[in-house]
Symmetry: C2
Subunit: 323 residues, 2 copies
């Protein structure tokens, strides 16, 4: 069974932190293919993961559509302008290759450097998650501005979601053409919706992307916090489903029959000592079974988790796998 | 079917905002029985809810145990000291009536003023939720400090949870003795745990409180975001279960047989216009059925929701109920 770690190319690694000190900001890092390539390769070399995931950001898409943002140190993204009206939506473009060629260049370079050691994963945010940032303008505990729009003006919300979806499909196809061998869709904020809203405003757009992409590359959908819609998620035209740590493995196997499952160790386990990491990791593998399974965390690794513990998690999976 | 709204005594109301301007800070408000009483009564008079809930804060408990905090305007609670070691836990006291008599005084005064118009609900946070604040020192997106402790030092975590539970049982009994006719336990942060951790570090302590309290007053448990453990939650010795808006009504009726259910409209529905509020509210009631049911939101009302819309939600329930 393969193993990788969401946010494996990040603050937990010394090489990443060194590059980060040298660039002006996070966006310069993302937009410089040689640096993005270097960050993508580091976990393959230092942690021994079985897959690389291109170092980038889900907010490439809104920027490609014409909505610029800055990444504020230790606070997250901040959009100068947010989407409030149909006029704002009309002013957005459906992005194209020239808006994200720094990503496709990074993918090409990374594929060359990887030389088929491990597959390279491309990714995008789900349309709902991107919608949430474009309407809210930043992270939020409640995303009440985004949610206000779906209840107050569902037609307008669908218009924006549709435009984001069109862009995302082009973006992911371009990633595959550049060399991404798998794509993952991160629905980071699906879990703040009710099941009914989730099935109207998030899932159908993920489904569209799966339908368009799955003929080109295997697709992993990661509907974080949205297992309440598991029966509908099972119908996605994708190969694998990522699970967060609140999902019980037996429930997931029962409700998502036929899908490869990916996940779902609580990242906080990696704060504990090696014996706890080993026990919890083996327990997880036994619960999922090692077939049709990709070992991973249930969320991106937190920046202050010791690198050595992340490696120990990966080694534990590999050791178990070798038996 | 009765209806009330979590956080009904808050920023949405003009009387509340007026008192808030007159006091030094939020804590002075909570600690002045006449003001807490006034805030508790306002939604009964202005919104026409079928229950009052004493205006207070879940952080009365850590303060009663000797861990002081301040409420930072628009940011939330901030503890000067956090719990890091067994020594810190040993230094805490199990609180007593003299540590929370401002709450019991407010309850007595409110019961007198209510004159049995509607029942008065008392409340406390769940031990895990209080634990999260006592170890983290403030709100958090990940609560990784709190979770680190449960994985790194489960024995110490249980020692702290046990002391919080002892305090909470005394606190809720004192509220009932003072006149609270129902008590609600808010497990605001149970949903950040894995099912396994939830069933070790949160649910057993809620169960202890239910066992001790249910002989004195009806108990409502609100395990926000933790429906993944519904089968175990169903076994709680309590009368009602509060549900957040991510829970499907039919699933809840099936998995929580025999319990009164409370909830669970997405508060963001109340940003929309009256026709949307009416449709969504009636749809919710039909899904739950109006028996063994308390209409409410799935979370506290957000401070910027128009009061008129909250009242329209309440009126819609009452109108439907009268038919």
């Amino acid at each position: 069974m393969p193993v990788w770690v969401m946010r494996q190319a990040g603050r937990i690694l010394p090489g990443y932190r060194k590059i980060r000190e040298q660039v002006k900001d996070f966006k310069e890092f993302v937009k410089t293919p040689a640096l993005a390539c270097e960050a993508t390769l580091e976990p393959v070399e230092v942690l021994g993961v079985d897959a690389a995931i291109i170092f980038s950001d889900i907010l490439v898409v809104p920027e490609a559509m014409g909505l610029d943002y800055e990444m504020v140190e230790s606070r997250g993204p901040l959009f100068e302008k947010t989407i409030k009206s149909q006029k704002d939506i009309d002013a957005l473009r459906v992005g194209s290759i020239e808006n994200w060629n720094y990503v496709t260049d990074a993918i090409k370079l990374t594929r060359k450097e990887l030389n088929d050691r491990v597959p390279l994963i491309g990714f995008a945010g789900s349309p709902w998650t991107i919608f949430a940032y474009m309407t809210e303008g930043k992270g939020s505990k409640t995303f009440s501005i985004a949610k206000r729009m779906i209840y107050s003006d569902p037609k307008m919300a669908h218009a924006l979601l549709d435009k984001i979806t069109q862009t995302t499909i082009k973006y992911l196809k371009d990633q595959v053409n550049a060399g991404a061998q798998i794509v993952q869709i991160f629905d980071s904020w699906g879990g703040i919706l009710s099941p009914e809203s989730y099935e109207e405003f998030s899932l159908p757009y993920i489904a569209k992307i799966c339908d368009e992409l799955s003929i080109h590359a295997p697709v992993i959908a990661f509907p974080k916090g949205a297992f309440f819609s598991a029966k509908k998620i099972a119908q996605l035209n994708c190969n694998a489903i990522g699970l967060d740590w609140t999902v019980d493995a037996a429930d997931a196997r029962e409700m998502l029959k036929g899908k490869v499952l990916q996940g779902n160790l609580d990242p906080c386990v990696l704060y504990a000592d090696h014996s706890v990491i080993k026990n919890k990791t083996i327990e997880m593998i036994k619960q999922f079974g090692s077939k049709e399974y990709i070992a991973n965390l249930g969320h991106g690794v937190y920046p202050d988790i010791p690198m050595d513990n992340v490696r120990y998690f990966i080694d534990t999976v590999k050791e178990y796998s070798a038996k």
